[in-house]
Symmetry: C2
Subunit: 455 residues, 2 copies
């Protein structure tokens, strides 16, 4: 067979050791904070039944699902006419029973319903796994990427919202990324739609408002007109865009605006509880009640959040919100949930741009023993067994090749210390320990070398 | 839409919080030992080009690959005749450009060739990711399961074999699983096939020998006969089965047997180096030169290893070996490698059966604050913020429901400590800390409570 040119499918990535070290730093940081708040990890299979996934992400989403061809005779007696006479999407559903998960939310809802008998509600779960979407690949958008979700289901308490905001604050504090956490409430948006007499246009209104930052007021108005709102309705919406000030000013203004709207006032109350409670806690990052925050997903029903990095131009790096009926579609109505999702790929970029990764992240091993030959390396693997016992990540260069090659292996691998053990060192029971950063070289006992490296 | 009965594809699994805690314990233990030896983690995409995967696992393997239907118009102008007139496997290859990875070895070989310019050889990588096989699901065999591989490529040195055996020893020591590490060498097996004049029958001979343990000598002989070996050839092979004793006895006997066979002697030398070197190192588990160890995979060319648990009846829980030309198929010949793979699912079962998991593995949170109402919970979330600062995994029950319900949440979640903070405690600035195991309850300051929990 001719040799193949190796490659990977477009929109997918290999992760090199350095990239993995950075990604593990991100995942471990998020994981540790989730755990600190008592969230428990679960995992679900990469493949779900297509019936679990179809219809959950809109028509576009159905197309973007990766579908897995049934094993064996996947045409199972279909006639040629049936094959060519069926629409692509319907035929795909016949050839494929399974698909790759598209997010972690629908599999989680499926999990909760399927395992309802075993669950100890409220159920606080986190999940860090890849998802797949047959999107057109482009810069920063991949066909395989990780999501890092935490959700609480089975509790209506707003303390859950507070806790998730604390988690967001704590994670970005650990990363050293300065952020603004934006919060809004879907009930406030509903209230505004009701206020102008167009509750039917809630989605159009939220979508248009969501763009205020990007396209400006005039374009938002034009879009609302195009979506069938009258001049009068738009005029009645306009005070909303004029609301300014700190959180309590804005809350007061919106409360005044929505004073006769029950839904809207409920939303304001929820926001007040969350914001007031957060003021009693040691929160470091700014929290901003942002009336123009809408978030695209239809299933949100209460508080919604989004996080913007302050020092890098990039879209939202975390988001979430309260949903009241995610498990309904799987036959378990009335279970409220609230969750957040960290955007690991964007956080990766932000940490890169701001150079916020820990300094030693590029070093896999901390110590390399140079291999001078069979006798020396036989001695070195015994020393290495002691340095590893002391917790030092240690390599012994496996081949006795030229010193220069071994030194450049150490330097390319960012190994901070190199131990040279030749005949003299073996005789004297020492190692020559070279600090690769300073170039300094010292003759030490192995115990001394261990404490130098562990310093 | 009618509510769906939720389920997952056969052969796949959800992992509950307790299962995840156990799996993380396994993966983190393996990961930490790999890291201690300077191995670096990489990840490759779940989807590979089907051309990368096809033909690498034999005819049966091609059928067991999960194939992903092309997006969009996957029939792209095929005529009905073309569709029904093509064999299932060929048609699948037309409808599908991508497949799910089947193991971590082929993607790793592809990775090495694709990234050859960036690699710092010898390249020591580890990889812990799921793989997918459309096998018939059965007890202990899944369609999605994790592999935990470590390989060194770009070094012929037998020190790599030694290091991998140290890693195996160290991992099972950490788990507390007593094992026997079996070692053999493919060159010795080749030597034996050459010895009886049937190098063409190497595969049949190794497969038959591999079964000696299970089916006994007579059946092995019958199988060899059925595979076309003459009575005379089998008789000349028989001394091999009679070899007994400790490793050095067995090595001496095989050396004598193969004294005129260059390949075989090379294998013996390699084994002697590895076994002698290991004797100079603090290895805890037994290492057994086992002439009947063959391992199914064709690509092995040197030392091969397999690990058996001593206290549980189960197949091999780890395996590996040296291969001389894995990257050849992707156009990079002559690169030698050696690797091992831990069987996480079987190790999971062994740890369960022997009850070797750490005692606190079932506890996500260490402390739960009971919620007595809005005033009390507002106070408790501030205390929780201090216990978390101290590193204690803490929950505040979000709803002020009946005490009994909250206590049973704590006990079902295996939370070892519960803090009760009512009006009195708020007044006195104390918490009533209940040890859930002993039932003991003490009134303490938050600082005292923290040190009790951290004890």
């Amino acid at each position: 067979m001719a040799a193949q040119k190796p490659g990977i499918p477009k929109g997918t990535r290999d992760f090199s050791p350095l990239e993995m070290a950075k990604r593990n730093y991100i995942f471990n940081t998020i994981r540790s904070v989730y755990a600190l708040y008592g969230f428990k990890q679960i995992e679900t299979p990469a493949m779900e039944n297509l019936s679990t996934l179809m219809g959950k992400y809109g028509e576009e989403g159905d197309k973007l699902l990766f579908k897995i061809l049934n094993s064996g005779d996947f045409l199972h007696g279909m006639t040629p006419d049936e094959i060519t006479g069926t629409s692509t999407l319907k035929l795909a559903a016949k050839l494929c029973e399974k698909g790759l998960r598209y997010d972690l939310t629908v599999p989680f809802a499926r999990y909760v319903v399927q395992h309802r008998e075993e669950l100890n509600l409220p159920f606080k779960r986190y999940q860090i796994q890849p998802v797949w979407r047959a999107d057109r690949p482009q810069k920063g958008r991949y066909r395989e990427f990780y999501q890092c979700d935490a959700d609480v289901v089975g509790s209506d308490s707003l303390l859950n919202e507070v806790e998730l905001m604390q988690i967001i604050d704590s994670v970005f504090q650990k990363f050293g990324i300065r952020v603004c956490i934006k919060i809004n409430n879907r009930k406030v948006l509903s209230g505004m739609a009701e206020l102008i007499g167009r509750p039917d246009k809630l989605t159009d209104i939220t979508i248009a408002i969501d763009k205020l930052d990007k396209i400006g007021l005039d374009n938002v108005k034009a879009e609302l007109t195009a979506n069938g709102l009258s001049q009068d309705e738009i005029t009645r919406l306009e005070p909303v865009f004029a609301i300014k000030g700190d959180n309590s000013n804005k809350l007061a203004a919106v409360r005044e605006l929505l004073k006769d709207n029950e839904t809207g006032l409920k939303g304001i109350e929820e926001l007040e509880f969350v914001l007031n409670t957060l003021q009693t806690l040691p929160i470091v990052n700014a929290i901003d009640f942002d009336l123009t925050l809408a978030r695209g997903l239809n299933y949100y029903t209460g508080c919604i959040f989004e996080v913007k990095a302050l020092d890098v131009q990039i879209g939202s790096i975390t988001g979430g919100g309260r949903y009241d009926n995610l498990t309904g579609i799987f036959g378990m109505p009335g279970l409220s949930g609230v969750g957040i999702s960290f955007g690991a790929d964007r956080i990766f970029d932000v940490l890169n741009q701001l150079e916020l990764y820990p300094k030693d992240i590029a070093s896999a091993a901390q110590l390399l023993f140079i291999n001078f030959g069979p006798k020396e390396s036989a001695h070195c693997i015994q020393l290495a067994s002691r340095t590893r016992q002391a917790g030092i990540r240690t390599e012994v260069y496996p081949d006795s090749v030229k010193m220069k090659k071994q030194m450049s292996y150490a330097s390319n691998s960012n190994i901070p210390f190199v131990a040279l053990v030749g005949e003299d060192e073996m005789k004297n029971n020492t190692v020559s320990l070279k600090n690769m950063e300073t170039g300094e070289q010292r003759s030490l006992s192995i115990e001394e070398a261990i404490s130098v490296i562990l310093q």
